[in-house]
Symmetry: C2
Subunit: 156 residues, 2 copies
DNA sequence: CGTCATTGCGCAAGATTCTTGCGCAAACGC
DNA sequence: GCGTTTGCGCAAGAATCTTGCGCAATGACG
């Protein structure tokens, strides 16, 4: 996994293009990166096989689907033993409102990216699920007003 | 944009599948959702045209590409007028280390999702760029240890 | 209850794309 | 200088995409 891949300029172009449009046909991709289709497809497959490209995902319009509240929760635990951390990490996976979660170091122990249909649902989640969860000490929330930047993960 | 779409069960299946694998062929998708390929493709195009599906993106393995530091920054400003907020939002777009950013309400004004090759680069960014940026009051950072959940945006 | 418009499916066929094997040229090591 | 390796492009068969069309189910309306 932590194999620092050696990629040439064409590989980077491919990664850039597929971050911008992951459903582009291989023919179009090959045109954009300046090689013919077969070697382009082989490069993409290599990038997938080596785990450089982890997956492809459709990004949805949450408000149009009735999800109006995007928020972040910073959660601090009372105890941070490996068992405690793992227990909370497992719990996040069973909360559908939590869409992504990271274990972090700093003032808090976990960062949760949350999505809820409305404010009441989100507040209910924070109060009845999150705050009242065992070993949870502090919960700080930040409701998003709007997203101001959304680039792919990796640039260059 | 805020048109609450009316989607049937097949549409939701399509959205689930394309969040899980955005590069799936239409034939495979149609098999999974239980209809033939042409109406399936028409549904996908409709979802794209209506903006329900915003885009497709390849998700990359950041560590394998030499990006070992993922962090969040909570930024508080001194003044929060619309002009000030917009000025900072514009600035985030010119920082390659900042991959995503949200304007938030709560104790801070912006949440930044950051990616850097190493800790030194990230610290340099925080000290020399972020903290020393005009109108920036407070910066709290949370270095991620590992991601413990990563689902698509919308469930159901 | 009958009729008509609407909606959305599946079939079919041509266009496009995918996928594989193969030959060839450039780069490299010995 | 020679052999190996690497990676490109060509070509052809397989798979997929894309479009038009016919048909059945649904619902509105007289």
């Amino acid at each position: 996994m932590p194999i620092k891949a050696d990629l040439d300029a064409i590989d980077w172009k491919i990664l850039r293009e597929l971050q911008d449009d992951g459903r582009m046909t291989n023919v179009e991709l090959s045109r954009r990166v300046g090689i013919s289709a077969p070697p382009c497809l082989r490069r993409v497959k290599r990038l997938e096989d080596e785990g450089i490209i982890q997956r492809y995902r459709a990004l949805l319009n949450a408000p149009a689907l009735g999800m109006d509240v995007v928020a972040f929760c910073l959660v601090g635990l009372n105890r941070q033993s490996e068992v405690d951390l793992k227990a909370f990490a497992d719990r996040t996976r069973n909360w559908p409102i939590v869409r992504s979660a990271w274990m972090v170091s700093g003032e808090s122990d976990f960062m949760l990216h949350c999505l809820a249909p409305d404010l009441g649902t989100f507040q209910g989640f924070v109060i009845e699920e999150l705050t009242s969860s065992p070993n949870v000490d502090t919960v700080r929330t930040a409701l998003t007003i709007r997203q101001v930047k959304d680039d792919g993960l990796v640039a260059i």
